[in-house]
Symmetry: D2
Subunit: 244 residues, 4 copies
């Protein structure tokens, strides 16, 4: 079955910033949506300023994997929607968190840490190196690929140790960054991928789209797995002697 | 330098339940405090009903490792105190979460997951098996030790995959549980250890106390490590050519 | 494309032991092969007593995932064949190591440890618990499933910490075991699954076959990933100033 | 008790190469030994050309942590000595593998992989970034430190995913490298640290020595932990009913 992806975007920079408009004329979400459709997914979009941020129960129920881009308005995301997405991830929906989404409420909620990092915006060169070539997210990738002009994100990055670390980025100015990080959370999977910025055409880059598409496939729900619930199990294996 | 441990206890069962009073006449915190003092730590206690739950900035500033026991009143822990403890853990203070503390706000906050589990309270036998004999928390432990009567905690346990899994518990009634789990979070370390219950004398068990003491030593702050902060780094390595 | 599985079996018990013959009349490999064909794979078999143990370069070149069962004749596996399989795994071929295969040369070679364990053969009950419900190998599994009569394998198990731990087994006699362990090695993936024994009909158990089939899908090669080679890279990014 | 460190060195470059002699006049081992003594350890040295490579049973029995430097003569290390060291590590002795030791027999044996990498020797700048500030090996380290002239080691590095990744290195020429990797193996701990080369004065660098000293303390044996042995456990918990 075709995977159903919902591309979520804050969508604010696009309303006011001429440079962002020139790179993403219909919004970052539309660029990402087209890119992911080309990889064979069924894609819809949702944005902050829609009712319930476009993430109604009905939409989430029909979403296998949600991608998340936000930056200047993290605080405007309603806590009830964060709670709803959190719940869905723990029940199996995949989540791909992109770039400045590292500070999104949903990512900080899932990580339990500050998600702080270093940053610098001078359009320097980034090289994304694959460090786990066996991982499904490495499919079709070369040893590394380059992003000619990128925003630098640098270590130490305030995240839990990834369950798998797939890529590490090199920046011309002297920093490194764990740019592709996989996590299992409940019945769900989370992939953080850092390349991507509103004033650089990074989501037009085929390699970047390929990594995100691989991430979608990896994060797709595993069907029919045990649900994690608080449960009182009154009946032990019968005839087992119990200590006094 | 001697490690400074603060033993935190909800302390409610002890006020109303005769059985709990008979096992922990001065409260679970006093039993744990004595047990840890015998291992050479400087120990103080704090409880829910004290001002600021006994966890003032001053107390936390003088705490290397905090141990946490709660059960019936998780919701009464003030969010501001949870926030304060969370902050201190990310800055390096060790945290040992015990038994029903799996549902404490601070643990759920740090894990980002439900922390759900299965449970059954019939006083069955538990065997705690060591699965990482190289880990510091395994110091002085045999292959396994027994708790004659324990509350069963069973899988699936709604936690992130531990950064190190040190013990797995076997229960007579048919369940297993990842009972000793280590996590790095920010500059801090977190150890969850499940054995321990208000109506069984588990915190009088020398082996259980030994594991907790080993956990305290492992979780002690690593001095002078890099702080994880959001930081703008305007100046790259000089003379590095930047892409257009 | 259909995944191509080669089921390897030592095949010695079947030649001499009446009980094994009654349970696996055509050998463990044929039972496994039928079970995996039913999951939609293209399956061939290979055994110790064939030329090159049935694992010629040609066979391995056409194998996506190799399953390995051995017990009494680990030492008779030629080192050159072990070397060949090792090389193929590091280049991307999946490997599923079953039960007493924990002591196979190829598994010890890939793990770098003793792979020792405890064992007892009295036909006791085993319960296989899922501890990572997000993992693809957990697909379609309940919280746990039972094997009515099993050989006990117990901790401490002398393996590296798994990259993902999917199942933990409970044994009636008092032990636990990390029974489902995932590893990334080079461009390849390795899954160890402990249930299975020559004198119990465990490979006729649908749940056991389901786990192995899930393991095959998880361990399938990730296409076109970076090769891990020793490589001299004489030319750095041009114009980068080099320190004296 | 003071930790007892044995510094092992191949010691061949020093016999023939004028540049190496000028930087390490008494051999790399003596420079490392002095540096580690200054951190409070009891240090002895051993080299390839000594009887049994200086690693007799008696020496290893008195060694808490062994550091390993080799490069041009990995093949001359006797397999029996590799076997002996391997056994001791699995029994608890710490092992610190340095730089070109990535290709040492003992490291490949413990990792089970190729341990391949990319390399370039033009004396470029290396920055070592801390990515796990909670880890004991990060003690006293800044966000990063620089090595003005280093040999580049680059990804993909053919190792298992580290149990903890402590540092990542940045190289001026465009590569990244997982330069500080921790592993649990049996009852022992292994730390690989890549900075260090025979023609650069890297082992005179205080920060590099600090990391190695931190590694020694982390890798020190955990006393009295369960031994990993193959063991037949005939007697289950009594009165446990066994399935037919």
């Amino acid at each position: 079955m075709t995977l159903r992806v919902t591309v979520w975007n804050e969508g604010r920079h696009e309303k006011t910033d001429k440079k962002v408009q020139s790179i993403y004329p219909n919004g970052i979400h539309e660029t990402l949506a087209s890119g992911l459709q080309a990889h064979g997914f069924t894609v819809r979009t949702a944005t902050l300023d829609e009712l319930e941020h476009g993430l109604t129960d009905a939409v989430l129920a029909e979403t296998d994997v949600l991608t998340w881009w936000g930056h200047m308005a993290h605080d405007e995301v309603e806590d009830t929607i964060v709670e709803r997405v959190h719940q869905r991830v723990l029940e199996g929906m995949g989540l791909i968190v992109l770039h400045s989404g590292h500070f999104a409420k949903i990512f900080k909620r899932l990580m339990g840490t500050t998600c702080n990092l270093k940053w610098r915006e001078i359009g320097e060169k980034e090289r994304v190196w694959v460090v786990n070539p066996a991982h499904p997210i490495a499919e079709g990738l070369p040893d590394y690929f380059e992003i000619p002009a990128s925003e630098m994100y640098g270590e130490p990055f305030g995240i839990p140790e990834p369950d798998s670390l797939v890529t590490i980025s090199w920046f011309a100015g002297g920093e490194v960054f764990r740019s592709g990080c996989c996590y299992y959370r409940g019945q769900g999977k989370v992939f953080y991928f850092s390349p991507g910025h509103e004033t650089y055409p990074i989501y037009h880059n085929d390699m970047v789209l390929k990594v995100i598409a691989n991430g979608v496939r990896w994060a797709a729900p595993t069907p029919n797995t045990p649900k994690v619930t608080i449960e009182n199990r009154p009946k032990p294996i019968e005839d087992i002697p119990i200590a006094e």
